[in-house]
Amino acid sequence: MKLPDTGGTEGSPPGPSTDETAEELRRSVARQFGRSLHIRTLDTGSCAACEQEIRLLAAPHYDLHRLGFFFTPAPRHADLLMVTGPMIRAFDIAARKTYEAMPGPKLVVATGACALGGVYQPDAFTHGTVGETLPGDVLIPGCPPSPLALLQGLLVAVDRLAAKVQDLSFIQNGGAR
């Protein structure tokens, strides 16, 4: 069976590999970190709608891997912690341990309205916002944020991480600690 031509639609250049912006971003991530960027997701009491949208990022339509981002189950391999939910108090220790297990430079991306102080007010069971327990470096609004919004948030996070990498002394000293 002859497979169809993989040319793009409506006169667009053929093949996803020719998307120059994505390629440039992937190179930028690789240049900053010497590798791709790995994401660990952390559910702190969300309704799982955010997780569903995050999962869609790996689907063929959004194809997060083309940008050099990957999901990892281990915080020790992660550069970026994507936190969803209103941060229930029962999760405080686990959230802190996860954050501390990540190597630096690291970022926390507060994802969704729950994580940003909407939906749940602070009470005996929940903080109502991620910022109470972890530093919210990048904020992605939405309920749930669409995969496109998540992609934009990750691009914002990459810029922020790039700044953190520049602040590290061993980078400034050409790799010498």
Binding site: D5, P60, D63, L139, P141
Partner: protein, 113 residues
């Protein structure tokens, strides 16, 4: 056989070009509201604050404070006051500064103050 599978095979590429190019599905996304200060009064602002299920709206004096981070884009405020509230169409709202998400909208409607 699902239609999307056949369409994907026929068109070849199914992956979005975002962020290099805009994605056509972005037009259908629920987005936070924008407010027309000229149409907002104190009474209307109070009704909007009571309607909001996620505490994204607070009125302080003659200013309506809208927290786009807390907004769930449910559209209830648009139903209450379609003349004063419309969908922004903005979904690229991620930021590093929480202050960027908070909008202060003056109440300039007739009899607002």
């Amino acid at each position: 056989m699902p239609l999307w599978f056949v369409r994907g095979l026929r068109r070849g590429v199914v992956t979005t070009r975002y962020p290099g190019r805009p994605d056509s599905s972005a037009a259908d996304l629920p987005t936070p509201p924008v407010f027309r200060p000229e149409a907002l009064t104190r009474d209307l602002a109070d009704r909007l604050c009571m309607t909001c299920p996620s505490w994204a709206l607070i009125r302080t004096g003659d200013v309506l404070i809208f927290d786009a981070g807390a907004c769930t884009a449910c559209g209830r405020c648009r139903e209450v006051a379609p003349e004063a509230v419309t969908a922004s169409g903005e979904f690229e709202l991620a930021t590093t500064d929480p202050a960027h998400l908070v909008k202060r909208i003056p109440l300039l409607g007739e009899g607002a103050s």
